[in-house]
Amino acid sequence: MLVYLSKRLLLMIPLLLGITLISFVVIHLAPGEPTDLQTEMNPEAGVELKARLRAQYGLDKPIALQYVDWVGRLARLDFGTSFSQDRRPVWDKIVERLPVTILINVLSIGLILLVSIPIGIMAAVRRGSAFDRWTTLFVFIGFATPSFWLALLLMDYLGAYLGLVPISGIKSLGYEYLSSGEQIWDVIHHLLLPVLVSAFGGLAGFSRYMRSNMLEVINQDYILTARAKGLSERLVIMRHALRNALLPVITILGLSVPGLIGGSVIFESIFAIPGMGKLFYDAVMMRDYPLIMGVLVIGAVLTLLGNMLADIGYAVADPRIRNG
């Protein structure tokens, strides 16, 4: 197992380098440079400022050299400094946005699992029933609803009209003065809408997935055997069918690991949540190369790790794979 693990980890390095090389080239192919945006159309900025900025950012060197420099810094775990006007370390800018992004994503995945697994099971067990049809309709409405539209409607009704939930942001203005219990409630209160809205769209995919898994398992011979043994329907479904139907969920969870740090720019803009999506979007718009690369590298590492975790999880959960 250890040998397998270290092999997988070592294989990740060339893969990661390949990913970064492609991203680096693609980003530099996009028209426009950070210096253009900071100096063009600014009546005050002189031409020499642009030259000076290019030199400071190292953009005057050939792109191959820039890449080597960048990889060299990355090897020392230095993500560099942002090209935006604040010139802060890329790592700092990413780290301050990670907690809220991860929190919302974890909560929303949790909510999706919590709701869609039962829906999927019930729909499969009572295939073709009214419940099946209504939940199908419901989850597909969720799938088809633009999240920004739903968010605005809920904000207007629940927030502005009824005043039940805060409209945007993640903390109240006087957050610092609250007791720790109140602080936790404050954050939960603020997160209700964003988590609900972001989970709503994800329900369809997952519950449908769960339903088809379950249907496949229910038609297997061993379920027939279990029923023939005279086990109660409840036991048949919960013990024999569910466990097997849940196996592919591990893959999905593994694949959603990189999604934990990704955010949606529309969603974050609407709720005024300072998350990764907005950070990345602004970085791309500003052609802030170090920050773009920083986010991409972390995303790539998490994708590779997620895949590996999924494989390991599979092996742990499924004896056929472990021994085969």
């Binding site: 440079e33 900071q38 159309m41 600014n42 005050e44 010139r87 800018k93 927030g159 502005a160």
Partner: protein, 540 residues
């Protein structure tokens, strides 16, 4: 001078009359409650600040905050005249080349250190230092000698008189004792500024909020409002919902919000809306390197073909005015007596015919030498007003037989691929209007080189002459004559079709008193805004 003031007042009155909501604009003149210290104002801003060292910041969000934290030697007052801020007085030598500033005594930095002329001299050296990546160095490079003969005197000398020299010292003065000998790009002050201004910096939560607190030692008198919180809310609809649910006290409305969503008694009970022309204009610029645009008659024809009032009504919901030139109506430099181009398609067609463009093949598009008059208007993504304006213009052009395509391009690509290499036919873009009329950078023929701002390639020797004279003339009466002629030439030649000047539409919660609208807007007397003791909402 008096005529000017009258003109300004007239302009304000007109603005008020055009507005349906007149009562709310006659705010709290008589019987205003007693001023009191305290409360918090929460302002919505769509973008986070980037850098709170004013020299390094080029975005408006940073500029707004720096404006409360730092001071300059001089500033514009409510009527856009120059007045002293950190400078108590100043003298300009008879030849117009030397300015001597006499600084205020007893001013302290927020950390308690005294402010002296050494700070001013340091700021000057910092800004011209080639290692400082600032966009503002150009004007200060014209200084031939700067000195601080004593702690409260600062002198600068120029090789030639420079009209914008005095106001250029409105730049925020940076603290020498905290920045000297350091790499300014790595200074912690970029995240936690220390200035001399009416508000001290308290806290910055990136992407979320920036908090300032009143400076009770402020040299012009301590502000009334205790805290200023800027909340970063990127989406304007969310911002508006926050305003309605009292999560914000102040924001800038979009024309649609102003016209359709706030004109209710319930809204007016809680908020005061303001409206005055913004310091910006939107234009349709022609690439004068193209043959079809080189004939003045074609450009004039296009200007006649556009119904500008329709743009104001359709794009700005009537909340703006038709632009006639590069200056803001109502300011001293604005010349109203220039050639105007009211909507007149017959006239446009006639001018096109005179220029040799007629529909000879009957396809509905005018042509000349077998070439149809067809071109592409480009504009940047994310600015709805410009896109809508381009669409309305497209339809009007079609009516006079001019075929136009529209391309909307992301900002960085627009600059790099189209504007900088001059690969475009026409653009819909906007300029902000600076207080000083010096427009050398945008209109002088020396600024047509790659990367410069005269990207449409406008060259007119008389305009060049006027712009050179204008920036070296100090007497306003003479400058006005120069810029009046400059505006007449632009209006005649139509290198741009000047489209519209939008209105700024700020809204402030009603519990804030002391707000007085002036040509400079509403923010100029922010430190005198207050909330009466019985209406204060935030105790901390």
């Amino acid at each position: 001078m008096r005529a000017l003031v009258v003109a300004l007042m007239l302009c304000c009155v007109l603005t008020a009359c055009r507005d349906n909501a007149v009562p709310e604009q006659r705010a709290d003149n008589g019987g205003a409650p007693q001023p009191a210290v305290g409360d918090t104002i929460i302002e919505g801003t769509s973008a986070d600040a980037s850098n709170l060292l004013p020299m390094l910041a080029m975005d408006s969000a940073s500029g707004q905050i720096c404006g409360l934290v730092y001071n300059g030697l001089v500033r514009y007052d409510k009527n856009l005249h120059i007045e002293g801020e950190l400078a108590e007085s100043w003298q300009i030598s008879a030849d117009g080349r030397e300015i001597t500033f006499h600084l205020r005594h007893g001013v302290k930095w927020h950390d308690g250190a005294p402010f002296t002329s050494a700070d001013v001299l340091f700021t000057y050296h910092l800004i011209i230092d080639p290692k400082t990546p600032t966009a503002y160095a150009e004007r200060y490079k014209q200084v031939v000698e700067a000195s601080a003969p004593d702690p409260y005197t600062f002198k600068v000398r120029y090789a030639r008189p420079l009209a914008s020299a005095l106001i250029s010292w409105g730049i925020a003065i940076h603290p020498r004792h905290l920045l000297a000998g350091q790499d300014i790009t790595k200074s912690p002050l970029a995240r936690a500024p220390i200035g001399t201004g009416p508000y001290r910096f308290v806290q910055w939560v990136p992407g979320e909020k920036i908090v300032l607190e009143r400076n009770s030692d402020y040299f012009e008198g301590a502000p009334y409002i205790k805290r200023v919180v800027y909340r970063i809310i990127p989406d304007s609809t969310t911002m508006f919902l926050e305003l309605q649910s009292a999560g914000l006290d102040q924001m800038g409305l979009t024309p649609l919000q102003y016209a359709r969503q706030t004109d209710t008694p319930a809204f007016r009970r809680r908020f005061r809306r303001y409206r005055y022309p913004a310091f910006a204009y939107t234009y349709l610029g022609y690439n004068l390197r193209h043959k079809m645009f080189q004939d003045k008659r074609v450009r004039q024809a296009l200007s006649y073909a556009i119904n500008k009032q329709e743009l104001v009504d359709g794009v700005l919901m009537g909340l703006g005015q038709v632009a006639t030139g590069p200056y803001k109506p109502g300011t001293w430099q604005y010349n109203p007596d220039v050639k105007r181009y009211p909507y007149n398609p017959q006239r446009a067609r006639k001018l096109l015919r005179q220029a040799g463009w007629s529909d000879s093949d009957g396809d509905g598009i005018v042509d000349k030498d077998g070439q149809p008059l067809a071109f592409t208007i480009i504009t940047n993504q994310g600015n709805d007003q410009r896109i809508k304006a381009a669409e309305i213009i497209q339809r009007r052009f079609a009516q006079v037989g001019v075929k136009v395509k529209i391309r909307v391009i992301e900002w960085a690509s627009l600059l790099k691929e189209f504007i900088t290499p001059r690969r475009f036919d026409a653009v819909v873009m906007g300029w902000t209007i600076p207080n000083d009329p010096d427009s050398y950078n945008v209109w002088h023929s020396s600024k047509t080189a790659p990367g410069k701002l005269n990207f449409i390639g406008y060259k007119n020797s008389r305009v060049d002459e006027l712009l050179e004279q204008g920036r070296h003339t100090l007497v306003r009466r003479q400058r006005k004559k120069i810029y009046d002629e400059f505006q007449r030439i632009l209006a005649e030649e139509q290198p741009y079709t000047f489209l519209f000047v939008p209105d700024a539409l700020p809204v402030v919660a009603r519990r804030f008193y002391g707000i007085k609208e002036a040509p400079a807007g509403i923010a100029y007397n922010f430190i005198r805004w207050y909330v009466p003791a019985d209406q204060q909402r935030y105790q901390r």
